[in-house]
């Protein structure tokens, strides 16, 4: 009998002890002081003996501002600032992440030279191929405090992120740096805004030209001299594209007349809407616009190309690496709606099967130049304008930037100001120029564009004799080797003019959903499951089916009757 009592007491003790331990652990985790133990300050601040500054006033002089921030941080007992950066995109665009790494080193150097005993450390560099997926991850992880401090992604997400307060409003900081802002191309700055406030600085942009195979054109009899001018004037329209594509196919010069991009992640086929004079966004009402006439004409063009065998019916399901690019690179199509970054992608990826050696390899810059002609996206019909589409990427700052650091609640303002200064430095002309040439994106500011025209600078870059920290140099070494070439720089300079004609897809919270409807509609008309009119109505039905989308969309125009193409 006594044995049982002994067992009972043992149990009781065991339970109590376990409960106490659990409670203690929970208490420790939650009541842990957020600041570290006081770090011994090496230099005693000679300025105000009272409270150290929690924020500084930005002046627009970068070096002065960054030193001020550094001194303020030091006065608050901070010796290290940790930031993490999230970027996404193709493998050649790693400067989206390494740019920040380089900036950290540059700022650290400035601080060292000015006797400021603080360092920036980049703790995590996350780089994913799928930028949309990374955006979704950011959206989930930001409220948890698990997202990167810097978020380098498409401008298209600014509206949602700004609305939810997940990225920093940098308007007031940016206004102090008006000379920097003036050097950016102004349309890009507009893309960084939501409801008039600015949420990022432009990181890069591109254009989406129409590529034409010179050899196939020659076979078909298409004269390419001055074609880009004709497109600019609106003389060469999509009707002409159709006619030449048909001839190419009929004469057996190529298997396809036209190939384009796919998927709803890049709904840049909406260039057609703009090319037919339509609109996608109403800024006054802040609504996405469904322009029935322009969309009808766009879908009609797609439908006609597919029905006549000029455009693959199932192109929306084609594989990039095994079908789309090889088709273009081996001259199996006359026209291709592509992106400026294809120019170097064809050089670094192995899409081409050399008919002599039968090995697959990337193209040489000379081959790309020899085989490809490029123009703006032609006007839809006469009387309309040519266009191109850009999807600029932005340097964005997490509204919780600096969260990894001690005394965050207290020094939030300082951490945010420092983060802003980081992206200001990331906009340095050389960083932007390096990114542009190795990834074949377009520069976002005039100073960077000028650097690209400087052949001495290019040669230095090719030999990696430029001022970059070792980590970044090692990371981009092989890309530089493969892509830095005067032909590529020439290409970038030549397409610069397209930015004057460029359009942006709307940065509105429901636009991504609507873009998906567009992609579905295109797929259906291509496969012949619907005719253009049915497809337009399909889009409208999908929009109306969700009351929340319906409320944010404005439907205008009518499906034109008796319109023919070409």
């Amino acid at each position: 009998m006594t044995g049982r009592y002994r067992a009972v007491s043992k149990y009781a003790v065991a339970i109590i002890v376990v409960v106490i331990i659990i409670v203690a652990i929970i208490a420790a985790v939650y009541m842990m002081p957020k600041e570290e133990a006081a770090t011994p300050t090496t230099t005693s601040p000679t300025t105000t003996p009272t409270t150290p500054p929690k924020a500084i006033e930005l002046t627009g002089d970068f070096e002065k501002d960054v030193v001020e921030v550094g001194k303020a941080l030091e006065a608050n007992g901070i010796s290290e600032v940790k930031y993490s950066v999230w970027g996404a995109g193709d493998p050649n665009s790693v400067m989206r992440v390494y740019g920040i790494v380089e900036v950290a080193e540059r700022i650290n150097k400035i601080w060292e030279e000015n006797g400021v005993n603080v360092r920036i450390t980049i703790t995590d560099k996350k780089y994913d191929a799928d930028f949309k997926a990374q955006y979704e991850e950011y959206l989930s992880k930001q409220p948890l405090g698990q997202a990167g401090d810097f978020f380098v992604n498409s401008y298209v997400f600014i509206s949602v992120l700004a609305k939810e307060g997940y990225i920093l409003d940098i308007t007031d900081y940016a206004n102090k740096y008006s000379s920097l802002l003036e050097d950016f191309y102004s349309t890009l700055l507009d893309a960084m805004k939501y409801k008039g406030r600015m949420y990022g600085l432009p990181q890069d942009t591109e254009a989406r030209p129409l590529y034409i195979r010179k050899d196939v054109a020659g076979c078909t009899g298409l004269d390419l001299s001055n074609l880009d001018e004709k497109v600019k004037n609106g003389e060469f329209t999509w009707s002409d594209v159709y006619n030449w594509a048909k001839q190419a196919k009929d004469k057996g010069c190529a298997e396809w007349g036209l190939v384009h991009r796919k998927g709803s992640a890049h709904p840049d086929l909406v260039q057609f809407i703009y090319a037919f004079g339509g609109e996608l966004y109403d800024p006054d009402e802040d609504k996405v616009v469904i322009d029935k006439e322009a969309i009808y004409k766009w879908l009609y063009v797609e439908w006609k190309f597919a029905r006549d065998g000029l455009l693959p019916e199932d192109i929306m399901a084609w594989d990039w690496a095994k079908q789309i690019h090889p088709t273009i690179v081996s001259g199996n199509t006359l026209f291709d709606i592509g992106g400026t970054w294809y120019w170097t992608e064809w050089q670094t990826k192995e899409y081409y099967t050399d008919p002599e050696t039968n090995e697959t390899r990337g193209l040489k810059p000379e081959e790309v130049k020899e085989w490809f002609y490029y123009t703006l996206f032609p006007a839809g019909e006469s009387g309309k304008q040519p266009v191109t589409l850009s999807q600029p990427f932005a340097w964005m700052i997490n509204s919780k930037a600096g969260q990894q650091n001690p005394k965050y609640d207290d020094l939030k303002e300082l951490y945010h100001e420092l983060a802003f200064l980081v992206i200001v430095k990331a906009s340095d002309p050389d960083i932007n120029a390096i990114h542009s040439i190795i990834s074949s994106h377009l520069p976002v500011r005039k100073a960077a564009a000028n650097l690209l025209k400087n052949s001495t600078w290019l040669d230095k870059l090719k030999n990696l004799e430029i001022d970059l920290c070792d980590e970044v140099k090692n990371a981009i070494k092989d890309i530089v080797e493969a892509t830095v070439h005067s032909i590529n720089a020439e290409f970038l300079a030549n397409v610069g003019y397209m930015l004057e004609y460029t359009k942006f897809a709307p940065s509105h919270p429901v636009y991504p959903k609507v873009a998906e409807f567009f992609a579905e509609a295109v797929d259906k008309v291509l496969r012949g499951e619907m005719d253009p009119e049915q497809a337009v109505n399909y889009i409208i039905d999908k929009v109306n089916a969700d009351p929340e989308i319906k409320a944010e969309v404005k439907i205008v125009g009518e499906i034109p009757s008796g319109w023919s193409f070409p």
Partner: protein, 320 residues
């Protein structure tokens, strides 16, 4: 004083079981019961983008339910999700039960070493990492010439152009793919249960029948299957519940656009996608989810009653 304490703990003695059970009870409460309650709450709020500070305090009544039903009525995509769920469950269930039965019986009649290998092979879909499993089928069913299935059919001349099963052959294309992918995973469950059931059948019955000249089919039909009735019922009902709730194995196939989104998404996946991808509309997801929980709960309760589990639970083996 000590006596009073001891008395108290003496009463606790009856609850010594608690010590062993507390971890399980906490886990079950925190990860099953509480989340359901919270989901019900969320369904009454306009929560989106996981911005709980902004939206969680707001109550919008039945608005999410209203939106959900509105979309069912007006959006053919949402309607398709329903249809897909029903067809998916019905067909996959049949395949799982019959397939499991076939494998169990077939391996019983085949020599031992081969059957062990086969059973192990068929466990692979269930055990393999989900991302790898999805990648395998992504390339198998790929819509172009590079897809394995397409290239096989092309080479034997059955088709002359590659076919896009997942996106073009609506609705049976995507349906076949998701049924196939999940079927391979589910068959192993039935296979295991039935194998164990067969092993419990006295060998004398089978040997006697054999001696009398019975064929494999006769033995299966007359002896084995009738003795497995409960097991067949168990596998059917259990798999029904599994199929109602599964979503991980088709998540990537839909995300990677291998299958048409509306006809490749089941109700369960729809909920996950609404909450964690795309529109990040947690309120809507919760509303759709609560309805599914109710259905699942009712079906589950019926299952327990049919299988007679409560009757099978005997008193514990040894208590003082």
């Amino acid at each position: 004083m000590l006596y009073k304490l001891n008395n108290f703990f003496h009463k606790l003695y009856r609850f010594e079981a608690l010590f062993f059970l507390i971890p399980a009870l906490i886990i079950v409460f925190l990860f099953f019961i509480l989340p359901v309650i919270l989901s019900v709450y969320i369904s009454f709020t306009p929560l989106k983008n996981w911005n709980i500070g902004k939206y969680l305090g707001e109550i919008v009544g039945f608005n999410n339910y209203y939106r959900f039903f509105y979309m069912i009525q007006h959006d053919p995509g949402t309607r398709s999700v329903f249809l897909t769920t029903i067809v998916f469950i019905a067909v996959t269930l049949t395949i799982n039960v019959l397939g499991g039965l076939f494998l169990a019986l077939a391996t019983f009649f085949v020599y031992e070493k081969a059957s062990a290998f086969i059973r192990t092979l068929w466990l692979l879909p269930r055990m393999a990492p989900i991302a790898v499993y999805s990648l395998v089928w992504y390339y198998f069913f790929h819509a172009s010439r590079i897809g394995t299935l397409n290239s096989i059919l092309l080479s034997i001349g059955l088709i002359d152009k590659p076919i896009d099963i997942g996106q073009k052959i609506i609705p049976w294309g995507p349906w076949s793919i998701i049924i196939f992918v999940n079927g391979l995973v589910g068959v192993s469950f039935g296979m295991i249960v039935f194998t164990s059931a067969i092993n419990n059948i006295p060998k004398e019955l089978v040997i006697a029948a054999r001696v009398d000249g019975a064929t494999n089919w006769q033995i299966s039909r007359r002896i084995l299957i009738p003795l497995m009735k409960w097991h067949i019922l168990y596998v059917t009902t259990w798999q029904l519940l599994s199929l109602l709730t599964t979503y991980a194995h088709i998540f990537l196939l839909v995300k990677w656009n291998l299958v048409h989104r509306d006809y490749g998404t089941t109700w369960s996946l729809y909920i996950y996608n609404a909450a964690f991808t795309g529109t990040f509309d947690q309120g809507l997801a919760a509303a759709a989810g609560v309805i599914l929980v109710v259905i699942g709960g009712v079906l589950g309760w019926i299952t327990l009653k049919i299988l007679g589990f409560d009757r099978m639970i005997t008193r514990p083996r040894g208590d003082i």
